[in-house]
Structure formats: C-alpha cells, structure tokens
Subunit: 555 residues, 2 copies
C-alpha cells in the first residue's frame, strides 16, 4: 500500500474559468490508473484568439498515458464541462459516464463529430456507483443551473474524494434536485479526504439566493410592463429559463422561445423529463398574432453575440417579430468579463428603438449558479474534508479559496493546470508538473495556441500586411520592378503619393543597386526587401507592417 498514491492533476479549469478537465489517479507512482472528470471548452475572443472557433485544453499528457485511462465522467451538461467530448473522444477511447440528461447531450456531441454515441453510458445518481480501475465513482445530486448536475464521489483505496463540480446551495431550485444537506452529511460521515471545489464565486461575500425567491420579482416586472417583454439569458441555464417562463405565464403572457440554442436546450430538457412543468410555448409564427401586452419572448444572446436573437431583435426583425417603443427588454444574466461592449451595443440599439432595458445591476433579476463564499464555507462544514483543493477558478479565485480554507483549519493548496498533487497524506503535496496549455479549433483543424497562427493574425490586425513580389530572370537579375500589394493599410502617407507607389519605388531602387550576392540568396534578398518595406512604411505612415516577400526565379 505505501507505494501507491492518489493524485489529482488539473489539465484545464484551474487557473482559468472554462475548459474543465481534471485527472485523478491511483496506483504506484507513474503507473497510476486514471480517470478524467469533465472535458470542456472555452470560447475565443477577438483580443486573444481572433478567428478561433473553440478552445480546448491541451490533453497531450493524457493521450500519452491513455493506456492508463479507465473512463471519463461528466458532472453536468454545460459547454465548459462537456464541450470537448465529441472532439477528443477518439484520442481517449474510453467510456464516458454521465447522468441521463447530460448523457443525452454528450451523445449528440459524439454524433456531431462522427463518434460512437454508444460509448456514452447513462448512470443513475448516488448511491449508484460505477467502477473504473481502482476507483468507484458516484454521481451525487447537487443544485446548479442545469438539470441533473452532480458532484462526484470518488472512492479509492486511499479514501474518498468529493469533486463538487459546479454547484450552489439552493434548497428550492426551479429545476434540478435541491441541495440536500442531510444526504451530503451522510455521504461524508465516514470521512472525506479531499473536497475538490468550485471557486467561481469565492469573492461574493453574501450567501446565494434561491431561484425560487426571484420568480415573484420577475413576475411583478413583467406584469407592470405595458407592451411586449423580452428576456434573455443563457439557454443552458435551463432553471433560469423556466423561472422566466413561469413568471411570464403567471403574468398572463404567452411564452415564445427564440434562438436555436434556446429551443434546443428546452426541448432536450422536456424530452428527458427533467422539465415536466414548463409552460406551454408558442411558435414565433403564432407569437406575431398575439397582442403585444400578452407576449413574452425568451431569447438567446445574453452576452451580446452578434448573430444571436437578442442582437438581431436589437437591429431589426427576427422571426418576423420587431420590437417597438414601449417594449421591455430584460438582460437576466451576468455579463461575462470581455462581453460588456457587445451587450452595451445591444442596449443602445434597443434604446434607439425606444425599448426600455432592464439589466441586472441591482441583482433582482438573476441568481448565480455558483456557491458564494458563505456557501463554500457551509459546504466545508458539512463535508468536513481533510483538505480542500480549489478548482474552477482563475488564480485569484483559487488563492482566495485556499486562504479561506486554511483559515478554517483545513489543508489546501493552489494547484493550477499541470500541477500534479499527491492527496495520499493528510495534507496535499505538489508532486510534479506536466505540460498543459490550449489548443484551438479553427474551422476544421486544431492548432496549437503557440503555433504562431493566431499570433500572425493579431499582428496583421494591428500592423496591416504588405506583399512584395519580385521576379528574377535566369541570370538572377530583377525582371521589371518590385510589386506591392497592401491590405489593412492606408492608401496614402506623408508624401501624399499612393503608399504602394512609394514602396515600389524604394524597393525597385534597392533592386537596382543590389549586388549579385544578395540577388542570388533568397533569404538575404527577402530580408532586405522586408527591411526596406518596413522602413518605407514607418516613414510614410508611421507603422511597421507585417511583410510577405515572394521572390520568383525564372531559372
């Protein structure tokens, strides 16, 4: 026994919020049998990853050790936990376990990528347990913002770990199971070695509200509205969509879902039987015939996404429906940092239409799906683990979560992606580091975050791009002049002549005086032409652009 150990290794989600992927292992050092908890994605942005479709954790370490991997367990159906299953399954080739609702979403993701959906195995909630090598894993229901969210009870010969997954302590949630403190106490009774725990809201100092408490406030808002009401939130926040729909129904409104993700997610939840009492919804076609004061739309695009329903309604018609002065638009979700500009753009477009916008600056019309700091402390008291390992957070969240844990007398450690932690002893011990990072899904291909592809895109966006073409004849003499094309650069600079002409003049002059040695050497010639093009641009337009030099030789 003494040579065997229990390890924890985050590959994604620790040191960032997004693309969760956590490895647990048990066995002799370097031969631990492994399981993976969650396999999610992160979304790209113009500033850091322009043009990229999705961001995945780099799971090279796991694929190199896939002979040791037993299974994947998915805690719940949000994209940052499930989104990479279809893309990565082929590299792992092990069964994927999840509860019914989550498993159904995972099967769609497998099918979308041509992977075998039958590798996704539906399992029941605790006390059901699934064996995976030395591990036995149970899905412990917990409240979050999507049905059938679960913490994982991970038993190994070294003891029990509880991996919280995303959660909040809501004893009266609108969908999904309520948090059951007695059940959690029972599961924890015989001792929990480690609580690996969501850190998202560690900086929120007040206890979280229950979803049930918010419905009446929304109902009052909807009732008071003189015309149509539109509310937007994350489609994946099924609980919240239901809260909104029920508030609208109680306010006497017909409910219409708009945006593909919104309809899909709710339909899936109804199909799975996890949303039995969702209000009757009408189609956009029928909605057009409903008097405006009796209509409530629930739409996608709460983060300002340009192609989603909110943005389209703000710009003009969507599904044949157009907003009017006097309508009310409710942003009923948190704006993720970085999305503010897009959200504000929509708010102003709505303002131009005379639509009244209510956002959640007062916190009345939204509850978070994550446990706030007092809730984290409460969970620690219930579970009473030997140690707390913060995950699902940026570095500052992990650090704060570790701090409040040690303040309460529990061992803790800040373990970011790639940090291997030995959980065997009474306190966590960092026992290694593995290479991690991000890979990008870019169109149909995967590219490494450090391949330089995205770096080149950012450089072209910041600096523009000059293409220089030179033809050399059989004797390595320039044939004609240098040609230039520019993209993303002003047409004229300081000399008031076309920039392209000034460039061609300077480059051709250089060609005229260049020696044989330079003209024969591709690298040297390209380097010189690039240097001159950048210098000319610096003089003319005060910028040094990216330069591509194409040297064609006729020999």
């Amino acid at each position: 026994m003494s040579s065997e150990r229990l390890i924890y290794l985050p590959l994604g989600g620790a040191g960032e919020i997004g693309m969760n992927a956590y490895v647990y292992g048990y066995g002799p050092e370097g031969e631990e049998r492994l399981i993976l908890v969650d396999l999610g994605v992160t979304f790209s942005d113009m500033e850091g990853s322009p043009g990229v479709d999705l961001i995945f954790p780099d799971i090279t370490w796991l694929t190199e050790n896939k002979d040791r991997l037993e299974a994947v367990f998915i805690t719940h159906g949000h994209e940052d936990h499930i989104g990479a299953v279809g893309h990565y399954w082929e590299k792992l080739g092990v069964p994927v376990y999840a509860r019914a609702f989550t498993a159904n979403l995972a099967r769609h993701k497998m099918a979308d990528r041509g992977q075998p959906a039958e590798e996704v195995v539906t399992v029941g909630p605790w006390p059901d347990m699934t064996g995976a090598g030395p591990f036995s894993v149970g899905f412990l229901p917990v409240s979050h913002s999507i049905p059938e969210s679960a913490a994982l009870v991970i038993d190994s010969p070294a003891g029990r770990v509880i991996h919280s997954g995303d959660f909040k302590l809501d004893q009266t949630p609108v969908v999904g199971e309520p948090f059951d403190p007695d059940l959690w106490a029972e599961v924890s009774r015989d001792g929990v070695k480690a609580l690996v725990c969501d850190s998202t809201n560690v900086f929120s100092g007040y206890a979280g509200r229950s979803e049930a408490s918010v419905g009446p406030e929304i109902e009052a808002l909807v009732k008071a509205a003189p015309q149509a009401v539109v509310a937007t939130t994350f489609a994946s926040n099924v609980a919240w969509v239901k809260t909104l729909a029920e508030a609208g129904e109680r306010a006497g409104r017909s409910i219409c879902l708009m945006g593909r993700a919104m309809r899909r997610m709710i339909e899936a939840a109804i199909q799975e039987g996890v949303l039995t009492s969702f209000p009757k919804v009408i189609s956009p076609e029928d909605a057009r015939a409903v008097p405006r004061e009796s209509l409530m739309l629930l739409v996608t695009g709460s983060q300002g996404e340009r192609r989603a329903a909110s943005a389209q309604l703000a710009r003009g018609k969507y599904n044949g429906i157009e907003l009017q002065a006097g309508d009310l638009f409710l942003f009923s979700s948190k704006t993720i940092p970085g999305n503010e500009r897009g959200v504000i753009r929509i708010m102003n477009q709505l303002s131009e239409k005379g639509v009244d916008v209510v956002d959640d600056s007062n916190g009345h019309y939204h509850v978070s799906g994550h446990a706030n700091r007092p809730d984290l402390e409460r969970l620690q008291d219930i579970v009473n683990p030997e140690m707390v390992i913060p995950n699902h957070g940026e570095h500052r969240h992990l650090r704060e979560h570790a701090r409040i844990s040690t303040e309460r007398g529990r061992a803790s450690v800040v373990a970011v992606n790639g940090t291997m932690v030995d959980l065997t002893a009474a306190a966590p011990k960092v026992c290694g580091f593995v290479e991690t990072g991000r890979t990008y899904l870019d169109g149909a291909t995967q590219i490494g975050a450090l391949d330089g592809v995205v770096r080149d895109r950012i450089r072209m966006a910041l600096n523009g791009h000059v293409v220089v073409t030179v033809i050399l004849d059989e004797e390595d003499e320039p044939l004609g002049e240098a040609w230039c094309d520019i993209k993303g650069l002003p047409e004229e600079g300081r000399s008031r002549a076309p920039l392209v002409e000034v460039l061609e003049e300077d480059l051709s002059q250089f060609l005229g005086r260049a020696g044989e040695k330079t003209l024969r050497d591709d690298d040297k010639l390209e380097g010189e032409l690039r240097r001159i093009a950048r210098g000319t641009c610096a003089d003319e337009i005060g910028k040094k652009p990216e330069v591509t030099v194409v040297v064609s030789r006729l020999r």
Copy 2:
C-alpha cells in the same frame, strides 16, 4: 430677431462616451456664427479598431463651415475633451480658450503636433467672459476629477445656455474648486434657456460621495497593510491621485509615482499651482531603499494597459522594483467596459506572486467624477432651465436623462451626434442632421472609419490571409506553377499535406485548363484564382481566408 436662431449640434460625445465635440451657433439659418466646445478623442480597441492609435470625431461639417467658426472652448483637461486639439487645430485655425491648467495642457498638445501654442488663450473663471461673435462665454468652476474643470456659461441674444461639461456635485473635493450651489443659483437667476448636461452616471441611483469622505478608508487600508502598497488609478484623475497620496502619507508611507503619465500629470498640476499641498514624492531609485512597510507606489495602468506600470509590475520588475508576497495592490478606479480582461489578467499575475489585490467592487476605494442621477436632478433644480439637453453619454444614457428631465416638467430631447437642435423657442426642436462619424489616427496618418482599412485588418485577423502569385509569359501563358504564401492559417488541413502545396496544386491545375480569355483578363483571372483558393481552404481547413492575388505579366 425672429429669423435668427440658436442651435446646438454635437459632432462627438452624444451617443457615445468619448471624443466630445459640441457646436453652438447663433444667427440666420445657415449663417449662424459658430463656437466649438471641446475637441476630444476616444481610445481604440482590438475588437472594433485594431492597430488604431486614437479615434477622433469626424469634423468635416465644421471644416466646411470654418469661415463661420469663432473659437474653441475647452472645459477641462481630460483626453476625451482636449485630446484632438493638436491634431485638428490646423483645420480650424481659431483661438482656443481655456482656464490656466487646461490651457497649459492644450499648449503641450499643440506643440507636440507642431501647431502654434500661442493660439491657446488662458482665461479666468466666471465672472470673466470671452466674446466670440454673437456669443459671450464664461468658465463657471465646477467639481470634477481634474483641476479647474468648468461648465460654460454661453450667452447669446437668444438667452443663456449652461453647458455643464463633466462634473459632480462635490462640496469638499480634494483638488479643484468645490461645487458652489450659491454661485450656480446666482448665474441662473435671470433664467437659463438650456442646460446641456453630462449624462454619464444617470443610471446611478444614489447621490455621489465626496472625495473627502474616502480618504480615511484608504488610509485605514494602507495602515493595515504589512508590506508595500501599490495603488493604481487614472493619472488624469489628479484629485484621486492626491487622495491616495495623502492617505499614504498619513499612514506613514513614502510616496513614489510610477509611469510617465502619472509623473507628468502631477508635475503639471504642481507647476500650475493647482496642487499646492501634494505630499513629497520620492524617485523610484530612492524607493528601492525604503523599507517595504513604509512604501506606497502610485502607478499608471488601472485599465490593464499592457505597457503601463501596473502590467509591468505584475509581470516582473519595473523601475527596479519588484512586488513580493504580502504586498497589497489596490485597483482604485472604475474599469471601463471592454477593459475587464486586461485588468483581470493583471490581478491573476499579482495573485501568482502572492500579492493581495483589492479592487473596488465594494465602492469604498473610489468615487466617480460624474454626477449621479440625484445629483443631476439637484442641478436641474438649482439651474431651473427651460430645457435639458443630455450629452456626454451613450444613447441609453441620453434617453434616460431626457426621461427624468421631462418627468420633472422640463422640455428635453435625445440628440445624438449630427443632430442639429434649434434651442430658440421654449422647447428644443430638431432642425437638421449633418454627416458625422469617426476618423482614426493610425500611426502617422488619418483614415476614415469606413475606408475599409480597419475592416480588412479585422478580416485578416478572423480569416487569415493567402497570397497567390502567378507569372504569365509574353503569350499570356502561365510560366511555371502558381505560388502560395499563407499568414495566420494552419500549415496543414484535412488531407494532412501542407496547405500551401494543396493550394498550389489546385491553382496550378486550374491554370493548366484555363482558356485564353481568362488568362488575358486580369480581373477574371484574379477572381477565379481567389475563388479556387477560398474553396480549397474551405475543404482543407474549414475556413475561407482573405486572398490577395498577384498576377505578373512579362509582356
């Protein structure tokens, strides 16, 4: 008299926050004599204006009517009010009036752009008045966050307008004059036609705090800190920098300013005599010798700017000083929407160093420079204008400000950039629209926002760039194969062969079968090559890139 009118025309700052530029005119329709209030800039961002250095209002209308322009008046020294003075003065050629501190900043801006600094005229505060055509303009002191901020009292034969400029109602500010309700009442006693008023904080429902009330809280924070303290805020928020410095001094710390903008702004304020009691500051060299528990740094970079002092301290050493575990870092300013990611990046880097970060989520360590909604209402009550014209705000701010004004029985109108409003009668009347927009300072040149330059940059960033080179001989026959270069695109696609080779193969095949008509026609040939390159990329990598085709003909 009846054929003369008083007009208001925002060219920037109405429908956005930034690049303020407001025209007033008086005279017969179309022959009004004009004055311009403020001439500011906006900052660019990666999402909408990558690579751009500064954004200016498009003042084409004003330059076309510059024979009617009498003068420019600058309310205060913030970049969004003064930043374009040096760049645009040459196009306007009229005197620039400002109070001493502001005038000094304006002269520097003129000199930086090679313009005649002596065209900036220093004027005293109210009751001094400056004549400008039919107008007489006074600078009415008001509290804001930079010294010598002023509202403008604009008298014309049609009555008095008060243009608030940026302001808050602080009767005990740390720098600058306090708001003096008696003075404002006196100025307004004989009737004010229009209050043209700052709308920035119209959504803040509580009355603003005085700067003086915040110092003690910061002092307590600094006193309790065991190691070095760093605080960052806008350098231009001179009042706030002083509050921080004084709190640090009272807590027994030596104060060191870091970052060029920080030192420059404070030095200018001291020179102008508007910051007489600023604590003694030490140089970064001296700061290195000060015990950490006795040191407080005031640094630039509160918005996460990558090259500013905050970011550099978060990454490593700056001016020979390196932060350590146990140091405290205070973000003491509002994060402007869109800058969150950069700020959070720094917070996490500091967290990795073990530095404790305090931000302003509780509002204890920051006060705004703008009037909140109750303050706006209070000002209306003091001034009692016939009408309120909201400015300095996005559409949603203007609309809300107009709403609360009409609710209080005052005429109002939402007038965004380009909307000409006739203020002559008892209620404002929209009387025309002029073309407005933005121009970009890009390196050394100015480009129009709609020129396509920035659009091309964004497209290259999102889609990558393929360069196709083809040489045709004297008979218009392809000489050799097509060549490709790629930038910002993955090197390999679905077929696992280099993308460049697949492209060259497909393009060369096309050239082999292309008819004489196509080969002779540059446009046709380029169009076909572009189409094929995009199609090949779509097949191989699932993206359609930007394509530049270079056809070289030897004839």
